[in-house]
Symmetry: C2
Subunit: 344 residues, 2 copies
DNA sequence: TTTTAAAGTGCAATCGATTGCACTTTGGTG
DNA sequence: CACCAAAGTGCAATCGATTGCACTTTAAAA
């Protein structure tokens, strides 16, 4: 029977009649080890089928080369794009990525945070859940000086880097565009207001109306959790208004889609009768008929930036850090759902 | 200044004048520790802000309670659904999930496998990349008896549990449906044939034609990497055939979408002129016009099954394992793109 | 009353890589 | 020729939790 246990650096040391510290240094390309010695050790390690046991190294160095990521839902396109961006940078920088989804559940989010702390991830990237209003489980990381980066749904009360999009300008652009397209009775289907991203989208929308001299009509505002069902319920409600909207700015594409499907069913034409703009540029928005105008937010880029900031903070652990809030630009993508008389 | 270093079980032991092994056992609910002692230790641990350092435990027990997942692309809907299913089961069973994407790049896939092995993940869930034809980097896990589960794109040469969909029946159903809808010149846009999933889809398609007495016309077959661009190129090629198709079975929805968009541009009507069926039920397939008939594959369920099988194998490490291949059923979802004269 | 078994706790080796400090050898300079 | 500095390698403590085996105490049974 072949050797049962794993080959360790002690085995290699014994084989070559040198010390384990020499072997460790050689395999880590430490320059104080001479080239001939290093080459001999590398050759022997390969021949003996040596595979490092990172657990021992992690234990001794108190580092894991692992980034923790916690976000609400992995299979939402935006979040999976962010993850993809994080993973790409992490891989290039020699980090692995451990991912957990909170399902917008505060208790699960708290448990995950505790687990990631115990697992001693080198840093954590977080987008908090819809329900989260207490942040003690995240303050732990700040207290223990574990680097933390928030993205999308961020926590102002905790000092950390933050990657957000310009939700305010996105809301402003969306509403401005609808105004420019002739909209006069512009509704808004928004998200829960404990989250700043939806506060900001609302603010931008309001300021755009104000700038155009159009008073904000509170009956034109609906706030919910932005599910497909919520979208349908919201448009039903808006259509019951005595004064009906001729344009709607939705805080995400999911509700924009629900709106469009419902209006189609009712024989109300988008954009001719009611114009629609969404937010976040889901993949389906391009291919649905009419295609949906939307505010594009760069998930993949956000993920890359988050990972870059986190890894820089990890590597410069002893340096004082000046926390940044990166505001990724939003871009209005004009498609069919907000442009009338488009006969090309 | 507060205590600089972390509280360890030695600190708790010293505080209570008991041994560290007692503290360790108490915090792990070992029944040989008496109830009053255990309660006292738990109370003191909380008061002292103790947080376990899992690195030491992992090192000693040679376990990490971590599942590795390696797949081509995180931000593809199918894969992110699978990840979501994996994470849900993993979380319930007390495991964390570390995810890496290979980007269908063999060299990256190899490096990731090596890293995950060094990181001593307890088990690995894999979907191999488009280019992968050598499996040595994965055989390592089998050799070292690290539990391995393949899903979707699996490797027959390595003994492991496999989670696949019934690609053959999916292809068969798709082609049968097109025949039932009156298709006589049925084309196939398929994937790279080093991957069994695309071989099986093709086999199912061929057998359905054969069963209907329709000869397979090799000029009606195009194989590529199933990108949007590939889809466009494929339909262009098929339209140059002297004998043009009246139906197309695409091996994924991405190429089905490309086909539909291209035909729309050419003024060729789907499904009236050419019927289309895709595969995998992307979210956009429901909302595009015409909506795309497709073969649905249950990503989230596959993820759950993969994690369940892997964790069972991890927990019963010393038991001999009988490897299973789970074949998840595929379901034909009939939408507008394959039903002519649909005026409801 | 003595002996034995069970309950409860303690000792310290262990896991494997890292790394601060120590030691040896070699070559160059005064 | 002697001294010093640099190059190269070695020693062993360390990280913190786990756990096999040992020891003590207590209670029950003979």
């Amino acid at each position: 029977m072949e050797k049962r246990s794993e080959t360790t650096i002690h085995d290699i040391a014994r084989e070559l009649n040198i010390s384990a510290s020499t072997v460790s240094r050689a395999l880590n390309n430490n320059p104080i080890i001479s080239e001939p010695t290093r080459k001999l050790i590398e050759k022997t390690a390969k021949a003996m089928g040596y595979r490092p046991n990172i657990l021992a190294a992690n234990f001794r160095t108190k580092r894991t080369n692992t980034i923790g990521v916690m976000l609400p839902l992995i299979n939402r396109h935006f979040f999976s794009s962010v993850i993809s961006g994080i993973e790409e940078v992490a891989y290039d920088q020699g980090f692995t990525v451990t991912i957990s989804q909170s399902n917008d559940n505060f208790e699960k989010e708290t448990k995950i945070a505790q687990t990631l702390f115990s697992n001693r991830v080198d840093g954590l990237i977080v987008s908090i859940g819809m329900q989260t209003t207490n942040y003690d489980h995240l303050k732990l990381f700040a207290e223990k000086k574990v680097p933390l980066v928030f993205f999308d749904r961020v926590v102002d009360k905790i000092k950390a880097h933050k990657i957000i999009v310009d939700d305010y300008r996105g809301g402003f652009k969306a509403a401005s565009h609808l105004i420019e397209q002739g909209g006069k009775r512009i509704a808004h289907i928004g998200g829960p207001l404990n989250l700043k991203i939806y506060q900001d989208r609302l603010s931008g929308y309001k300021d755009a109306l104000e700038k155009a001299g159009i008073p904000v009509n509170e009956s034109m505002l609906v706030h919910n959790s932005l599910t497909r069902e919520d979208g349908t319920n919201a448009i039903k409600r808006l259509l019951q208004n005595p004064e009906k909207p001729d344009a709607i700015f939705c805080a995400n594409d999911t509700t924009a889609l629900s709106v469009i499907l419902y209006l189609r069913k009712k024989g109300i034409k988008v954009p001719d009768d009611i114009m629609v703009v969404g937010f976040s540029n889901e993949p389906f928005s391009e291919v649905v008929t009419p295609s949906i105008s939307t505010i594009k937010q760069p998930g993949f880029e956000m993920g890359k930036k988050a990972a870059e900031l986190l890894i820089k903070q990890i590597k410069q652990k002893d340096k004082p850090v000046r926390y940044k809030t990166l505001v990724m630009p939003t871009e209005l993508v004009i498609r069919e759902s907000s442009v009338k008389n488009r006969n090309k």
